[in-house]
């Protein structure tokens, strides 16, 4: 997959990253201001936390996807894994709160397995990750349907739904505080620490930037790559638990989320084909994308124009990034 980026100088300086994050944040602030003008209660603490709660699943997915993207790959199987998590959760718990704990463990084990298979198919079978995870997407959708016979067989108990749905009331300062926002903060901090503060994170950047050089300098390229896919899959399971919690059981919760997660990262300045990006950018990108959806809904624009706006933002975000890199390089 050496595509358009070929031949461009790679920039490793921290300053450009900094500038790019700012842009995603700035766009987000502008969009959110637009939302607040249309519906002022989005400015109240409860409105803000509620917005964050809704954006959390996408942000969590972006926090996982970024590992694979920075390592130079793609994970298209995330959305299907979200669906499998929700349907699997309903099959395993069957509305019995006593089942929740082990069911969540099993779901994470499934995620671990999916991530391992993705990683092994890419590293051992040497299938490009787009195709490997595309095949996984098709298969996982089929597995979820086979498992459930076409539709979920049970309800999700309330304690399973706690993470996605519950809101603490009467919290000082903010009034109400959704559990999902706590999850978002924990996941984002963990991802930030893992990608940007550890040796492992540096290796992920290194194999995305130049796998041959990384291998020569002693990085275990394949193990690192597999780990990136596992992290992405675990994030997808987390996203599925949140979405199932927020909305309850349904059959196609995850469809299209993989592309939204990639789009969020890209808007946040993560470079496809690897080597550059930051977790703060990915989260900001997810919030930006979600603010855009919310704004378009509030504007009452015809539904489909949402797609159009998303397309324009995607291309301009990447084009402006490429343009500035070119000027800088």
């Amino acid at each position: 997959m050496s595509v358009a980026a070929a031949g461009e100088p790679k920039w490793n300086g921290g300053m450009s990253l900094f500038r790019k994050i700012n842009i995603a944040v700035i766009v987000f602030v502008i969009l959110y201001a637009g939302i607040a003008i249309l519906q002022p209660n989005y400015l109240e603490p409860a409105g803000i936390t509620n917005f964050l709660r809704r954006a959390t699943p996408l942000a969590v997915l972006a926090c996982g996807q970024i590992f694979v993207l920075v390592a130079g790959g793609f994970d298209l199987s995330m959305g299907a894994l979200v669906t499998l998590t929700v349907i699997g959760g309903s099959m395993l718990t069957d509305n019995d709160p006593g089942n929740t704990a082990w069911a969540i463990l099993v779901l994470y084990a499934i995620g671990l397995g999916v991530g391992l298979v993705n990683g092994l198919v890419v590293t051992v079978l040497r299938v490009p990750s787009i195709i490997a995870t595309l095949g996984m997407l098709l298969s996982l959708n089929g597995v979820a349907m086979m498992w459930s016979g076409g539709s979920p067989r049970g309800y999700l108990p309330d304690n399973f739904r706690f993470f996605g749905r519950f809101t603490f009331r009467d919290v000082p300062l903010v009034g109400s505080f959704p559990v999902a926002v706590v999850v978002l903060v924990v996941v984002a901090l963990a991802a930030w620490w893992g990608l940007q503060k550890t040796v492992f994170g540096k290796r992920v950047f290194a194999i995305g930037d130049n796998p041959r050089a990384a291998a020569l300098s002693g990085v275990r390229v394949e193990a690192t790559r597999i780990a990136a896919f596992v992290i992405s899959a675990l994030a997808a399971v987390t996203g599925g638990i949140l979405l199932g919690g927020f909305g309850g059981v349904s059959v196609d919760v995850g469809s299209g989320l993989e592309l939204q997660a990639i789009a969020a990262c890209v808007i946040g300045g993560v470079q496809l084909m690897g080597g550059r990006g930051s977790v703060i950018g990915a989260v900001a990108g997810a919030l930006t994308l979600f603010a855009l959806f919310t704004l378009l809904n509030l504007l009452g624009l015809p539904q489909p124009l949402k797609d159009t706006a998303q397309g324009v933002i995607l291309i301009s975000a990447v084009a402006s990034g490429a343009w500035r890199r070119r000027r800088a390089g």
Binding site: S151, G154, Y155, V251, V253
Partner: protein
């Protein structure tokens, strides 16, 4: 080059003009009145078996299709891409089991929601020479018409659910349909809504004929009765999005009194939005999905469950066997009754042992393998 440009300009101009002429009519007063009449009609046929009943309609002679049994039935399915179709497909397979003595084989092809594939599937059935009769559940009406027409020339055809634009099938089985749904639901809300109450309409997506007609009929009644609809929003059938939309409306208007839905899949999510906002439950029309019925009963909602009954998947199999035996069937259109679930009949349909996305109006309780085959527990 210039001519090419001219041609393009001409075409573009036609584009601009043709817009009005081609607009599909989802709000046809004639169809509306016809549905109204059908709703008032008394179904004929065996009591307690709505899938064998009919509203009006004439019998067609099928003597020319008579064959010695047992029969090879082929079925071209649009897909099993949503829980409604999954329940229906299970119904159909169970119906085949019930008629095992008459049916030697039942072969199906799943088009996975693709028109192009379904056309090929139908052609393959026709050329296989292995089918005595073909049942079709078309993915879209217009696109499948030529393939069905071609199939009619080779063997008897039965169509159900969505129709085709030809009368060549022996019969086309379907319930009253979207206009009827809209009338039933809007009348319920009109009856229960306090004066000056606000209604929020939640729709799945635009452009699907069965859904558009539900909305047009309901909206017509809302207008007639002077009911205020504060918004009609598309949810994509997505729980999270439904919740977000309802929350935003509650915030904007302070109070929403009733929720009208063109399909019930996200009804529970809409109800939960009221719970999460600490608001009283609205009047709501959903569908016959179990999660909604269970919630309705548990919380004592003021609710209404229209149906697009999945038992219609049983009828074509019964019709197919009858046709091959030379017995008369209702045709060329066979209208099935379209019952609703009300407070009075709720207890009959609510069943916590069935899966949340099961459709209660499946007419499957007496079928072999119930409830396990439908995902339920004994």
């Amino acid at each position: 080059m210039r001519r090419l440009l001219l041609g393009v300009v001409a075409a573009a101009a036609t584009l601009a003009f043709a817009g009005v002429a081609s607009a599909q009519n989802f709000d046809d007063p004639k169809e509306f009145d016809a549905a109204k009449q059908l709703l008032e009609m008394k179904p004929e046929g065996p009591a307690g078996k709505p899938w064998e009943q009919h509203l009006g309609g004439k019998e067609v002679d099928t003597a020319k299709y008579k064959k010695p049994g047992p029969y090879h039935i082929c079925f071209s399915n649009a897909g099993v891409n949503n829980p409604w179709r999954v329940v229906g497909w299970t119904d159909m397979q169970a119906q085949v089991d019930m008629l095992k003595g008459d049916i030697a084989s039942f072969t199906h092809a799943d088009a996975e929601g693709k028109d192009d594939k379904q056309i090929s599937d139908i052609n393959a059935f026709v050329s296989s020479g292995k089918c005595d009769i073909l049942i079709v559940s078309p993915n879209t009406t217009a696109a499948l018409t030529p393939a069905v027409e071609a199939a009619c020339k080779a063997l008897p055809v039965v169509v159900f659910d969505r129709g085709v634009l030809t009368e060549c099938p022996v019969t086309f089985v379907n319930p009253i349909g979207g206009y009827g749904w809209g009338i039933q639901t809007a009348n319920f809300i009109a009856e229960k809504l306090p004066k000056g109450g606000k209604v929020l309409a939640l729709r799945i997506l635009p452009g699907v004929d069965v859904l558009e007609t539900r909305w047009s009929a309901a909206n017509r009644i809302f207008k007639e009765k002077g009911i205020e609809v504060v918004g009609a929003e598309f949810t994509d059938g997505d729980n999270a999005k439904t919740k977000a939309i309802v929350e935003d409306y509650i915030n904007r208007f302070g109070k929403i009194d009733a929720i009208w839905m063109d399909a019930g899949a996200t009804a529970v999510a809409a109800i939960e939005a009221f719970e999460d906002a600490g608001q009283p439950y609205p009047i709501i029309t959903g569908e016959d999905q179990e999660d909604f019925l269970v919630k309705w009963k548990k919380e004592g909602l003021t609710a209404f469950g229209p149906t697009y009954p999945t038992y219609q998947w049983r009828s074509p199999v019964i019709a197919a066997v009858k046709i091959l035996k030379g017995e008369p069937v209702i045709g060329p259109t066979w209208k099935l009754p379209q019952p609703v679930i009300t407070q009075e009949t709720l207890d009959k349909y609510v069943d916590e042992k069935m899966p949340p996305l099961h459709y209660a109006m499946c007419g499957c309780e007496d079928m072999p393998g119930y409830p396990e085959k439908w995902g339920g527990k004994k």
